[in-house]
Protein backbone atom coordinates (compact mmCIF):
# COMPACT_ATOMS: atom_id res chain seq x y z
CA UNK A 1 0.00 0.00 0.00
CA UNK A 2 1.04 3.57 -0.64
CA UNK A 3 0.06 7.02 0.56
CA UNK A 4 0.49 10.11 -1.61
CA UNK A 5 0.27 13.59 -0.10
CA UNK A 6 -0.28 16.65 -2.29
CA UNK A 7 -0.30 20.02 -0.55
CA UNK A 8 0.31 23.72 -0.85
CA UNK A 9 2.99 25.10 1.42
CA UNK A 10 4.66 28.47 2.03
CA UNK A 11 7.09 29.57 -0.66
CA UNK A 12 9.71 32.26 -0.75
CA UNK A 13 8.41 35.53 -2.20
CA UNK A 14 11.86 36.91 -2.80
CA UNK A 15 14.61 34.78 -4.33
CA UNK A 16 17.18 36.72 -2.24
CA UNK A 17 17.95 35.87 1.36
CA UNK A 18 16.62 32.29 1.19
CA UNK A 19 17.87 31.46 4.67
CA UNK A 20 15.42 33.88 6.26
CA UNK A 21 12.50 33.15 3.92
CA UNK A 22 9.45 31.30 5.22
CA UNK A 23 9.87 28.73 2.44
CA UNK A 24 8.74 25.14 3.00
CA UNK A 25 11.56 22.62 2.86
CA UNK A 26 11.45 18.83 3.02
CA UNK A 27 13.65 17.33 5.72
CA UNK A 28 13.71 13.82 4.23
CA UNK A 29 15.65 11.96 1.56
CA UNK A 30 14.52 9.37 -0.94
CA UNK A 31 14.68 5.86 0.49
CA UNK A 32 14.48 7.12 4.10
CA UNK A 33 12.42 5.10 6.54
CA UNK A 34 9.97 7.36 8.32
CA UNK A 35 7.54 6.86 11.16
CA UNK A 36 4.14 8.40 11.60
CA UNK A 37 4.47 11.75 13.43
CA UNK A 38 8.01 12.53 12.24
CA UNK A 39 8.44 15.74 10.26
CA UNK A 40 8.33 15.53 6.46
CA UNK A 41 9.09 19.21 6.02
CA UNK A 42 9.29 22.52 7.83
CA UNK A 43 8.92 26.23 7.19
CA UNK A 44 9.69 29.39 9.14
CA UNK A 45 6.94 31.27 10.88
CA UNK A 46 6.50 34.52 8.98
Amino acid sequence: STVVLVFQAPISKSPKDKALSPEFRFCIRRGDRIQMGQALGRWRDS
Binding site: S1, T2, V3, V4, L5, V6, F7, Q8, A9, P10, I11, P15, F24, F26, I28, R29, R30, G31, D32, R33, I34, Q35, M36, G37, Q38, A39, L40, G41, R42, W43, R44, D45
Partner: protein, 369 residues
Amino acid sequence: TSFLQKLQITQARASINGGSSSSSQGNSFLVPGATVATIAMLGVLHARRLYDDKKVEEAKEKGIELEFQPDAKATFLRLLPLRSISRLWGFLTSVEFPLWLRPHVYRAWARAFHSNLEEAAMPLEEYASLRQFFVRTLKEGSRPIDSDSCCLVSPVDGTILRFGELKEAGAMIEQVKGFSYSVSSLLGASSFLPMIAADDMQEESNGQENTQRDESKKSWWTISLASPKVRDPVPTRPMKGLFYCVIYLKPGDYHRVHSPVKWNVLVRRHFSGRLFPLNERATKTIRNLYVENERVVLEGQWQEGFMAMAAIGATNIGSIELFIEPALRTNRPRKKLLHSEPPEEREYEPKGIGVMLKKGDEVAAFNMG
Protein backbone atom coordinates in the same frame (compact mmCIF):
# COMPACT_ATOMS: atom_id res chain seq x y z
CA THR B 1 17.48 -32.57 -13.98
CA SER B 2 20.15 -35.07 -12.91
CA PHE B 3 17.83 -36.20 -10.12
CA LEU B 4 15.01 -36.82 -12.61
CA GLN B 5 17.43 -38.64 -14.97
CA LYS B 6 18.52 -40.94 -12.10
CA LEU B 7 14.87 -41.48 -11.28
CA GLN B 8 14.12 -42.49 -14.89
CA ILE B 9 17.09 -44.91 -14.90
CA THR B 10 15.88 -46.46 -11.62
CA GLN B 11 12.39 -46.85 -13.09
CA ALA B 12 13.76 -48.38 -16.31
CA ARG B 13 15.85 -50.88 -14.32
CA ALA B 14 12.81 -51.73 -12.22
CA SER B 15 10.70 -52.41 -15.31
CA ILE B 16 13.48 -54.61 -16.81
CA ASN B 17 13.74 -56.62 -13.60
CA GLY B 18 9.94 -57.02 -13.62
CA GLY B 19 7.72 -57.68 -10.63
CA SER B 20 4.92 -55.53 -9.21
CA SER B 21 6.78 -54.78 -5.97
CA SER B 22 9.70 -53.03 -7.71
CA SER B 23 7.27 -51.06 -9.95
CA SER B 24 5.43 -49.71 -6.93
CA GLN B 25 8.81 -48.80 -5.38
CA GLY B 26 9.56 -46.70 -8.50
CA ASN B 27 6.22 -44.86 -8.21
CA SER B 28 6.78 -44.15 -4.55
CA PHE B 29 9.89 -42.17 -5.53
CA LEU B 30 7.92 -39.97 -7.91
CA VAL B 31 6.06 -37.89 -5.29
CA PRO B 32 9.11 -36.95 -3.18
CA GLY B 33 11.01 -36.43 -6.43
CA ALA B 34 8.46 -33.92 -7.72
CA THR B 35 8.37 -32.19 -4.33
CA VAL B 36 12.16 -31.89 -4.27
CA ALA B 37 12.15 -30.55 -7.83
CA THR B 38 9.46 -27.95 -6.95
CA ILE B 39 11.31 -26.86 -3.81
CA ALA B 40 14.56 -26.63 -5.79
CA MET B 41 12.85 -24.54 -8.47
CA LEU B 42 11.34 -22.19 -5.86
CA GLY B 43 14.77 -21.94 -4.24
CA VAL B 44 16.38 -20.96 -7.53
CA LEU B 45 13.65 -18.36 -8.22
CA HIS B 46 14.05 -16.92 -4.73
CA ALA B 47 17.84 -16.77 -5.08
CA ARG B 48 17.44 -14.99 -8.43
CA ARG B 49 15.04 -12.50 -6.88
CA LEU B 50 17.47 -11.81 -4.01
CA TYR B 51 20.25 -11.33 -6.57
CA ASP B 52 18.08 -8.90 -8.60
CA ASP B 53 17.15 -6.96 -5.45
CA LYS B 54 20.82 -6.71 -4.50
CA LYS B 55 21.64 -5.36 -7.96
CA VAL B 56 18.85 -2.77 -7.62
CA GLU B 57 20.18 -1.71 -4.20
CA GLU B 58 23.71 -1.37 -5.58
CA ALA B 59 22.42 0.68 -8.51
CA LYS B 60 20.52 2.97 -6.12
CA GLU B 61 23.63 3.48 -3.99
CA LYS B 62 25.49 4.55 -7.12
CA GLY B 63 22.68 7.01 -7.87
CA ILE B 64 21.42 5.10 -10.92
CA GLU B 65 17.68 5.60 -11.45
CA LEU B 66 15.36 2.68 -12.11
CA GLU B 67 13.81 2.84 -15.54
CA PHE B 68 10.36 1.84 -16.64
CA GLN B 69 10.56 -1.61 -18.26
CA PRO B 70 7.17 -3.13 -19.09
CA ASP B 71 7.48 -6.91 -19.21
CA ALA B 72 5.47 -10.10 -19.69
CA LYS B 73 4.83 -10.34 -15.93
CA ALA B 74 2.96 -7.01 -16.02
CA THR B 75 0.82 -8.23 -18.94
CA PHE B 76 0.15 -11.48 -17.09
CA LEU B 77 -0.90 -9.57 -13.95
CA ARG B 78 -3.48 -7.65 -15.99
CA LEU B 79 -5.14 -10.98 -16.89
CA LEU B 80 -5.35 -12.24 -13.31
CA PRO B 81 -8.53 -11.75 -11.24
CA LEU B 82 -6.58 -9.75 -8.63
CA ARG B 83 -9.69 -8.43 -6.88
CA SER B 84 -10.97 -11.99 -6.28
CA ILE B 85 -7.49 -13.06 -5.14
CA SER B 86 -7.37 -10.10 -2.77
CA ARG B 87 -10.80 -10.89 -1.35
CA LEU B 88 -9.85 -14.57 -0.92
CA TRP B 89 -6.66 -13.47 0.88
CA GLY B 90 -8.81 -11.30 3.14
CA PHE B 91 -11.07 -14.26 3.90
CA LEU B 92 -8.14 -16.58 4.66
CA THR B 93 -6.45 -14.06 6.96
CA SER B 94 -9.72 -13.55 8.85
CA VAL B 95 -9.71 -17.18 10.00
CA GLU B 96 -9.31 -17.24 13.78
CA PHE B 97 -6.31 -19.06 15.21
CA PRO B 98 -6.45 -21.16 18.36
CA LEU B 99 -5.11 -19.22 21.37
CA TRP B 100 -1.89 -21.29 21.69
CA LEU B 101 -0.98 -20.77 18.00
CA ARG B 102 -1.41 -16.97 17.86
CA PRO B 103 1.96 -15.83 19.34
CA HIS B 104 3.85 -18.28 17.07
CA VAL B 105 2.13 -17.07 13.90
CA TYR B 106 2.53 -13.37 14.72
CA ARG B 107 6.17 -13.79 15.78
CA ALA B 108 6.88 -15.58 12.50
CA TRP B 109 5.17 -12.74 10.60
CA ALA B 110 7.16 -10.14 12.56
CA ARG B 111 10.42 -11.99 11.85
CA ALA B 112 9.64 -12.24 8.13
CA PHE B 113 8.56 -8.61 7.69
CA HIS B 114 10.63 -6.86 10.40
CA SER B 115 7.77 -5.69 12.62
CA ASN B 116 8.36 -4.52 16.19
CA LEU B 117 6.09 -6.59 18.42
CA GLU B 118 7.07 -4.55 21.50
CA GLU B 119 4.93 -1.70 20.12
CA ALA B 120 1.69 -3.71 19.80
CA ALA B 121 -0.98 -2.24 22.05
CA MET B 122 -2.36 -5.63 23.17
CA PRO B 123 -0.83 -9.01 24.12
CA LEU B 124 -0.40 -11.22 21.01
CA GLU B 125 -2.99 -13.75 22.23
CA GLU B 126 -5.71 -11.13 21.92
CA TYR B 127 -5.43 -10.81 18.13
CA ALA B 128 -7.78 -13.54 16.93
CA SER B 129 -6.66 -13.50 13.28
CA LEU B 130 -3.77 -12.31 11.13
CA ARG B 131 -6.10 -9.65 9.69
CA GLN B 132 -6.73 -8.25 13.18
CA PHE B 133 -3.04 -8.39 14.04
CA PHE B 134 -2.12 -6.61 10.82
CA VAL B 135 -4.12 -3.45 11.66
CA ARG B 136 -3.02 -3.46 15.30
CA THR B 137 -2.86 -0.17 17.18
CA LEU B 138 0.33 0.83 18.95
CA LYS B 139 1.11 1.47 22.62
CA GLU B 140 0.58 5.06 23.64
CA GLY B 141 3.66 7.17 23.03
CA SER B 142 5.11 4.81 20.38
CA ARG B 143 4.73 7.48 17.70
CA PRO B 144 5.31 10.94 19.19
CA ILE B 145 3.95 13.70 16.96
CA ASP B 146 6.46 16.47 16.14
CA SER B 147 5.25 19.43 18.18
CA ASP B 148 6.72 22.13 15.88
CA SER B 149 3.75 24.19 14.69
CA CYS B 150 5.60 24.91 11.42
CA CYS B 151 6.02 21.33 10.29
CA LEU B 152 4.03 18.78 8.34
CA VAL B 153 4.32 15.23 9.70
CA SER B 154 4.31 11.86 8.02
CA PRO B 155 0.82 10.31 8.03
CA VAL B 156 2.20 6.75 8.01
CA ASP B 157 5.17 4.52 8.78
CA GLY B 158 6.95 3.74 5.52
CA THR B 159 9.67 4.41 2.98
CA ILE B 160 9.95 7.71 1.12
CA LEU B 161 9.70 6.94 -2.60
CA ARG B 162 9.39 10.39 -4.13
CA PHE B 163 8.90 13.99 -3.02
CA GLY B 164 9.28 17.44 -4.44
CA GLU B 165 7.52 20.47 -5.85
CA LEU B 166 5.08 20.21 -8.74
CA LYS B 167 6.33 22.68 -11.30
CA GLU B 168 5.85 21.15 -14.72
CA ALA B 169 2.78 21.55 -16.93
CA GLY B 170 0.10 19.01 -16.05
CA ALA B 171 1.54 18.51 -12.52
CA MET B 172 3.25 15.19 -13.11
CA ILE B 173 4.76 12.85 -10.51
CA GLU B 174 7.46 10.49 -11.70
CA GLN B 175 6.64 6.81 -11.05
CA VAL B 176 10.08 5.71 -12.22
CA LYS B 177 12.55 7.22 -14.66
CA GLY B 178 10.85 7.45 -18.03
CA PHE B 179 7.30 7.28 -16.78
CA SER B 180 5.12 9.80 -14.92
CA TYR B 181 1.46 10.13 -13.98
CA SER B 182 -0.57 13.30 -13.51
CA VAL B 183 -1.76 14.40 -10.09
CA SER B 184 -5.21 15.25 -11.43
CA SER B 185 -5.55 11.62 -12.65
CA LEU B 186 -4.57 10.43 -9.18
CA LEU B 187 -6.90 12.76 -7.28
CA GLY B 188 -9.74 12.90 -9.82
CA ALA B 189 -10.76 15.27 -12.57
CA SER B 190 -13.04 17.21 -10.19
CA SER B 191 -10.16 17.89 -7.77
CA PHE B 192 -9.68 21.41 -6.36
CA LEU B 193 -6.00 21.10 -7.27
CA PRO B 194 -4.71 24.69 -7.57
CA MET B 195 -3.86 24.87 -11.26
CA ILE B 196 -3.69 27.91 -13.48
CA ALA B 197 -3.67 28.29 -17.24
CA ALA B 198 -0.15 28.08 -18.61
CA ASP B 199 -0.53 31.59 -20.13
CA ASP B 200 -1.42 33.07 -16.74
CA MET B 201 1.59 31.34 -15.27
CA GLN B 202 3.70 33.03 -17.93
CA GLU B 203 2.33 36.43 -17.00
CA GLU B 204 2.86 35.70 -13.33
CA SER B 205 6.46 34.68 -13.80
CA ASN B 206 7.34 37.64 -16.07
CA GLY B 207 7.57 39.97 -13.10
CA GLN B 208 9.75 37.65 -11.01
CA GLU B 209 12.16 35.89 -13.30
CA ASN B 210 12.78 35.27 -16.97
CA THR B 211 11.67 31.82 -17.97
CA GLN B 212 12.00 30.20 -21.33
CA ARG B 213 8.70 29.16 -22.78
CA ASP B 214 8.60 25.48 -23.68
CA GLU B 215 8.00 24.98 -27.36
CA SER B 216 5.34 22.40 -28.03
CA LYS B 217 6.65 19.70 -30.34
CA LYS B 218 3.16 18.55 -31.35
CA SER B 219 2.03 19.62 -34.80
CA TRP B 220 -1.64 20.06 -35.74
CA TRP B 221 -1.89 16.62 -37.38
CA THR B 222 -0.34 14.69 -34.46
CA ILE B 223 -2.87 16.32 -32.14
CA SER B 224 -5.75 15.50 -34.48
CA LEU B 225 -4.65 11.85 -34.65
CA ALA B 226 -4.16 11.55 -30.91
CA SER B 227 -6.78 10.11 -28.60
CA PRO B 228 -9.25 12.53 -26.94
CA LYS B 229 -7.39 12.07 -23.63
CA VAL B 230 -4.34 13.85 -25.05
CA ARG B 231 -6.36 16.80 -26.34
CA ASP B 232 -6.33 19.44 -23.65
CA PRO B 233 -7.74 22.76 -24.81
CA VAL B 234 -6.37 24.76 -21.85
CA PRO B 235 -2.88 23.65 -20.83
CA THR B 236 -2.51 24.14 -17.10
CA ARG B 237 0.35 24.32 -14.64
CA PRO B 238 0.31 23.89 -10.88
CA MET B 239 0.40 27.09 -8.85
CA LYS B 240 3.68 27.83 -7.13
CA GLY B 241 4.19 26.13 -3.82
CA LEU B 242 2.41 22.85 -4.61
CA PHE B 243 4.34 19.89 -3.18
CA TYR B 244 3.95 16.09 -3.09
CA CYS B 245 5.32 13.12 -1.18
CA VAL B 246 4.91 9.40 -1.97
CA ILE B 247 5.33 6.93 0.93
CA TYR B 248 5.35 3.15 0.50
CA LEU B 249 4.24 0.85 3.35
CA LYS B 250 5.90 -2.56 3.55
CA PRO B 251 3.85 -5.53 4.83
CA GLY B 252 5.53 -5.32 8.26
CA ASP B 253 4.81 -1.62 8.77
CA TYR B 254 2.18 -0.09 11.03
CA HIS B 255 -0.79 0.20 8.65
CA ARG B 256 -2.87 3.05 10.08
CA VAL B 257 -3.04 6.46 8.47
CA HIS B 258 -3.00 9.67 10.53
CA SER B 259 -3.52 13.33 9.76
CA PRO B 260 -0.32 15.14 8.65
CA VAL B 261 -1.55 18.59 9.81
CA LYS B 262 -4.59 20.32 11.22
CA TRP B 263 -6.99 20.48 8.27
CA ASN B 264 -10.60 20.34 7.12
CA VAL B 265 -11.51 17.36 4.94
CA LEU B 266 -14.15 18.60 2.52
CA VAL B 267 -14.46 15.79 -0.02
CA ARG B 268 -13.84 12.05 -0.22
CA ARG B 269 -13.42 10.27 -3.54
CA HIS B 270 -13.36 6.46 -3.95
CA PHE B 271 -11.84 5.07 -7.13
CA SER B 272 -12.78 1.43 -7.52
CA GLY B 273 -9.87 0.47 -9.76
CA ARG B 274 -7.60 -2.53 -10.04
CA LEU B 275 -5.54 -4.09 -7.27
CA PHE B 276 -2.05 -4.52 -8.68
CA PRO B 277 0.78 -5.15 -6.25
CA LEU B 278 2.57 -1.92 -5.29
CA ASN B 279 6.08 -3.20 -4.61
CA GLU B 280 9.19 -1.76 -6.25
CA ARG B 281 9.16 -4.38 -9.00
CA ALA B 282 5.57 -3.45 -9.89
CA THR B 283 6.32 0.29 -9.99
CA LYS B 284 8.91 -0.20 -12.69
CA THR B 285 6.90 -2.63 -14.84
CA ILE B 286 3.22 -1.64 -14.53
CA ARG B 287 2.29 1.60 -16.25
CA ASN B 288 -0.03 4.00 -14.38
CA LEU B 289 0.10 1.82 -11.29
CA TYR B 290 -1.07 4.46 -8.78
CA VAL B 291 -3.69 5.84 -11.12
CA GLU B 292 -5.17 2.42 -11.93
CA ASN B 293 -5.32 0.94 -8.43
CA GLU B 294 -8.25 1.23 -6.05
CA ARG B 295 -7.81 4.25 -3.81
CA VAL B 296 -9.51 6.64 -1.44
CA VAL B 297 -8.71 10.34 -1.81
CA LEU B 298 -9.40 12.89 0.92
CA GLU B 299 -9.26 16.49 -0.14
CA GLY B 300 -9.60 19.72 1.79
CA GLN B 301 -7.96 22.86 3.11
CA TRP B 302 -5.33 23.67 5.72
CA GLN B 303 -3.81 26.96 6.85
CA GLU B 304 -1.59 27.14 3.76
CA GLY B 305 -4.19 26.13 1.19
CA PHE B 306 -4.87 22.87 -0.64
CA MET B 307 -4.32 19.47 0.99
CA ALA B 308 -5.03 16.00 -0.43
CA MET B 309 -4.17 12.54 0.79
CA ALA B 310 -4.55 9.43 -1.41
CA ALA B 311 -4.50 5.98 0.23
CA ILE B 312 -3.80 3.42 -2.51
CA GLY B 313 -4.65 -0.26 -2.06
CA ALA B 314 -2.76 -3.28 -3.38
CA THR B 315 -3.48 -7.00 -3.92
CA ASN B 316 -2.63 -8.09 -0.38
CA ILE B 317 -3.90 -4.92 1.30
CA GLY B 318 -6.94 -4.23 -0.81
CA SER B 319 -9.43 -2.50 1.44
CA ILE B 320 -9.22 0.91 3.04
CA GLU B 321 -11.21 1.61 6.17
CA LEU B 322 -12.05 5.26 6.78
CA PHE B 323 -12.59 6.16 10.44
CA ILE B 324 -14.24 9.46 9.54
CA GLU B 325 -16.73 7.55 7.37
CA PRO B 326 -17.15 4.00 8.74
CA ALA B 327 -19.91 3.18 6.22
CA LEU B 328 -17.49 3.35 3.28
CA ARG B 329 -16.78 -0.10 1.81
CA THR B 330 -13.85 -0.71 -0.53
CA ASN B 331 -12.60 -3.81 -2.39
CA ARG B 332 -16.17 -4.87 -3.20
CA PRO B 333 -16.89 -7.54 -5.84
CA ARG B 334 -16.81 -5.91 -9.27
CA LYS B 335 -20.09 -5.83 -11.21
CA LYS B 336 -18.85 -4.08 -14.33
CA LEU B 337 -16.05 -5.21 -16.60
CA LEU B 338 -14.77 -1.70 -17.22
CA HIS B 339 -12.06 -0.43 -14.89
CA SER B 340 -12.45 3.21 -15.83
CA GLU B 341 -15.57 4.03 -13.85
CA PRO B 342 -15.88 7.57 -12.49
CA PRO B 343 -15.04 7.86 -8.79
CA GLU B 344 -17.77 7.81 -6.19
CA GLU B 345 -17.64 11.18 -4.43
CA ARG B 346 -18.99 12.45 -1.14
CA GLU B 347 -18.94 15.99 0.14
CA TYR B 348 -18.72 16.17 3.92
CA GLU B 349 -21.11 18.32 5.95
CA PRO B 350 -21.31 21.12 6.96
CA LYS B 351 -20.54 22.50 3.51
CA GLY B 352 -17.26 24.41 3.41
CA ILE B 353 -16.15 23.07 6.80
CA GLY B 354 -16.35 19.30 6.41
CA VAL B 355 -14.56 17.10 8.94
CA MET B 356 -11.96 18.83 11.09
CA LEU B 357 -8.82 16.84 11.84
CA LYS B 358 -5.95 17.66 14.17
CA LYS B 359 -2.32 16.78 13.47
CA GLY B 360 -1.83 13.09 14.30
CA ASP B 361 -5.54 12.14 14.39
CA GLU B 362 -6.26 8.62 13.15
CA VAL B 363 -7.93 8.82 9.73
CA ALA B 364 -7.84 5.40 8.06
CA ALA B 365 -6.43 1.87 8.10
CA PHE B 366 -5.30 -0.50 5.37
CA ASN B 367 -6.87 -3.93 5.80
CA MET B 368 -5.71 -7.28 4.46
CA GLY B 369 -7.76 -8.33 1.45
